[in-house]
Symmetry: C2
Subunit: 257 residues, 2 copies
């Protein structure tokens, strides 16, 4: 991936995208996803790791609900990563992440991820750049481990919102009684660091690109969710999965009550 300037990339749906048409197509995609997830589970060979990253209010929770919430929860696990606990801080930064790596046949969604350790910690200068550089290397090694040693397919999405859309959504949290629970008194202070976060993300895209990033225009929820659902569907389809054949059926004689 060549150097990326987030400011040059649109945060809105492409002009040619027709909202009504896409909403219709979305129904087909969600049906496909349900089928493909069932097949993934049945075949028990591959696994899928979906990494959702983005600024506050970029719509990660919405993706979890509207894209992954329609599948069978037996094979779909969502793990949010918040501030680390004391026990987690006693270990390397990937320790708590690795525990939630997907097992064969399952889809694991990370709502925030190991990337926070090279984003929030960097923007706030909690660690120096030498540590950040080492972490980039460790992240690349870690993703390679999952890919090469457990057939884990990794999809990394950056939910790309404009500063205006972010601010409007944060304001909404202070007004809408159904959204107030999401309000955090630090949100507006963090929002002021928007450009610093974008810069830190640009470095992530440059340093941790052995498994590519998808930059998702995220100002319009309908487009963002379509983009991600379609990418997941196409990825699962490309695996050419097959239902396992029936094992040799035992003679009834073998089944003794």
């Amino acid at each position: 991936m060549p150097s990326i300037k987030l400011a040059d990339i649109p945060t809105t749906a492409p002009k040619k995208a027709d909202k009504e048409q896409i909403k219709e197509e979305m129904q087909t995609i969600l049906k496909d996803l349900d089928e493909l997830q069932n097949l993934l589970y049945a075949e028990h060979k591959h696994s899928l790791l979906v990494v959702l990253q983005g600024m506050d209010a970029s719509g990660k929770d919405g993706v979890v609900r509207d894209v992954f919430g329609t599948m069978n929860p037996m094979g779909v696990v969502v793990t949010p990563f918040k501030a680390p606990t004391a026990q987690e801080m006693d270990h390397d930064f990937l320790w708590r992440i690795h525990q939630h790596a997907p097992g064969k046949g399952t889809i694991q969604v990370f709502n925030r991820s190991h990337y926070e350790d090279v984003l929030v910690q960097r923007v706030h200068k909690w660690v120096d750049d030498d540590v950040i550089t080492k972490r980039f290397g460790a992240i690349n090694d870690f993703e390679k481990l999952l890919r090469d040693h457990n057939s884990t397919h990794i999809l990394k999405f950056y939910l790309h919102v404009s500063q205006g859309a972010q601010m409007a959504r944060l304001e909404e949290r202070t007004q809408d009684p159904r959204k107030m629970w999401k309000y955090n008194e630090k949100d507006f202070a963090e929002a002021k660091l928007f450009k610093k976060y974008q810069k830190a993300y640009e470095d992530v895209f440059k340093e941790c690109n052995k498994i590519p990033w998808y930059i998702v225009p995220a100002d319009h929820n309908w487009y963002k969710e379509y983009f991600i659902a379609k990418t997941v569907r196409d990825t699962l389809k490309s695996l050419k999965m097959k239902f396992p054949k029936l094992p040799k059926v035992k003679n009834n004689e073998d089944v003794k009550p």
Copy 2:
């Protein structure tokens, strides 16, 4: 570490080693270890990972009991790695290992380890050499992660027994009523693969040497335990640990019932 031929390395205590003198020195070392482990726990900065590898009956359990069993179990954790469970098999081979990486201030002893995945699996040809090569790389990345991102000091010991000593100990398990529980019907079949295991170990020493291996002469238990205890003691000593100073004591006024 240059290429190693295990057949050329003695399995017995050096001739100059005086058993009585070493047993006496061992008492001092164990006292030092107890102090140093307490300091490690109190300082809460470093951690120590001890990897014990060796053929069946090479005396790993004895090391656990006689070297690590004398320290405070609050800060010493021993984890044996046996055949992986179904859940563990659904993940990459380092998944179950990473969960047991030591937290700051603790000593973690692996009784067998991630190295089994490039030893027993290789000798039995359960995986091909391409997978083994990839695993060597993943192991190096993993040990680097622990070292660089959690101040984990890693000591890797190979308990080097002769084929004769191994066979005598396996025989003992069939005779001594206190040792029969250790007998496994596969032991003698595995013992026939002694040379193949040695060859697989030699490759491990060559491919995974960024953190060095200690080859421990292990035919004499007193010498083997002394060697390991001394190495652990010297390693902990080299960390120049200090007890944390008293934090600012609050005025009694602040403590209100």
